[in-house]
Subunit: 336 residues, 2 copies
């Protein structure tokens, strides 16, 4: 799903996301808690209304951001003290406070407050995070009261198969309407990420959505779906766009490079998005070199469209029982 960190999918409007048939976006609880604050958003009538988005909306728990604030945070079993990355102000999050914030934001799906282990980390650290994540999931579920909002559990366990399994067992025991796999795509080799996903089927019920957090690149979406994942989120499409790079069916294209200077073909010959129908690589490169905001905007549009289309094609191929032929076609074209 497209990621709307600050209550916007960077550079894009909701209307553009509707055009591309985006069904759900993610907003970051951590960022919105610090600025503009959940009370202002509640006053606006909730996050949907604040950002003028009328489709699916998911808020993460802030756990990932808080645990990335190395040195700025102190954690115990009750919660996390941290300093804002914006102004250094002191803040405190517990499972109950996070539920309070997410309920005020009012997304359709809220995520439990979890402890996301860094990579690399020791077995003992990862085990501690699994224990805490289970305890906090229990407290989140206990506190959460907004019945029209679905609360998803998160599975941790770093790169230890045994811990992943234990976390999955403990979290699924709490019976959430959906399950996320957290703590991957945090720097571990891709092979290790795929290995952790290989056992997904054993851990997680078939009849509930499985969501791989913070992933990812086109090939990771394919590998994730292959392993039973239903949902993904990632900043990559818009971040690459801001760095002048486009997804294509042949792999990533650095539009910023001189090779595109007089290339009047579209970003991706196989793409039928608004950008590919109207603009050339040469034009978009000119916008990048001139530091025009239209450049990241057009690239973001194309990249998000590319990812949504890729997911749509995978859904269709699964419905038609043709997923392995889809994968073959994908990898025949795609260059890493």
């Amino acid at each position: 799903m497209p990621v709307g960190t600050q209550a916007t999918v960077k550079t894009l409007t909701p209307d553009e996301l509707y055009q591309m048939e985006a069904g759900i976006i993610l907003s970051n609880t951590y960022h919105l808690h610090l600025r503009p604050g959940e009370d202002l958003i509640a006053q606006a009538g909730g996050l949907h209304r604040f950002m003028s988005w009328n489709r699916g909306l998911l808020t993460d728990s802030g756990g990932f951001q808080v645990f990335s604030l190395k040195g700025l945070r102190k954690i115990d079993d009750n919660g996390v003290h941290f300093n804002s990355h914006i102004d250094g102000s002191r803040h405190y999050l517990t499972p109950e406070i996070v539920m309070e914030i997410e309920q005020k934001l009012g997304a359709d799906i809220a995520m439990c407050f979890d402890e996301c282990s860094p990579y690399p980390c020791s077995y003992e650290e990862a085990e501690k995070a699994v224990q805490r994540t289970s305890l906090w999931a229990y407290r989140c579920k206990n506190y959460h009261s907004r019945s029209e909002q679905a609360l998803f559990g998160i599975i941790q366990g770093s790169i230890f198969a045994e811990l992943r399994e234990r976390s999955a067992r403990e979290i699924t025991d709490l019976n959430f309407p959906g399950y996320a796999i957290g703590g991957l795509s945090v720097g571990e080799p891709k092979a290790q990420m795929y290995e952790m996903l290989d056992n997904t089927d054993k851990w997680l019920p078939f009849d509930k959505p499985r969501y791989l957090m913070g992933v990812g690149a086109p090939e990771d979406l394919v590998e994730g779906v292959k392993r039973g994942i239903d949902m993904f989120d990632c900043v990559l499409p818009t971040r690459l766009a801001r760095h002048g790079t486009a997804f294509t069916h042949q792999g990533k294209l650095v539009v910023r490079n001189a090779g595109c200077a007089a290339d009047f073909s579209p970003l991706d010959d196989y793409c039928d998005c608004y950008v590919c129908k109207n603009y050339s690589r040469a034009y978009i490169r000119h916008l990048i070199k001139s530091e025009e905001m239209l450049a990241p905007r057009l690239l973001s549009y194309h990249n998000v469209y590319f990812i949504l289309k890729l997911m749509e094609k995978m859904r269709k191929s699964l419905q038609e029982g043709k997923f392995s032929s889809f994968c073959e076609k994908f990898y025949n074209k795609y260059r890493f």
Copy 2:
């Protein structure tokens, strides 16, 4: 008309400008000559095609930008030597070279290469610029050969009524299909600009478009139309947008200010644009504070829409013979 400096109206797409019924945009010859170069644009099939814009397009002559490069340029009757503001490289422009560039860019309207006097300047300097502008207009007209492209003459004369009249006489003698008034809105008091426009009727034929270059603010458009001007261009709508400011029927609104933090009303209560129908001041202020590109984008959309709508209302009131009642209503609401 909206201004597309680098072959884009900053932050906006052609589709958005079509939605707002923009009929014409301006692109800067100086900027496009330096980057990406008129040859690349000709190779792309011309500027319309390069930027995917299929309505009216006007290119200025680069004169205004070149004469702003104080210290970096050397001028004589034949042309101007200057150093690029991007990389310091040496360039030379003459009326003939400018015509060559504008013909390659292929806009619907090209402007003659003129000498734009700075403000303040002496009568003698202004007189020299008027002479040169007439000589260059003659050479431009002589050289210009692309018959489907209209070439407009430019009138100079700084703030000297006598020189304005002389320049107008000399330029109109050359019989261009349209006339621009250049060298205003360059720092002179507004009263002086209006005074220079007061005599427009005497100088310029009724049956050809009159274009006031580089203007401007909503009140200047009203005062310009009052004095017989048909066309304007200005970077103000998008520049103010990038600085967090919106045009409104009550005057300028600094959305960045704390006063908008919990203001859930639209940018302008009297505006029916996409932005005013969907977003609040509080949301847009949040985007500004979070340095999200969507902020300048939404503000640019609204500001350009505001200006185009203002022009449309003036056209309508003129057709209906109600222009003075329009002006009264405008100034009743508008605060400076």
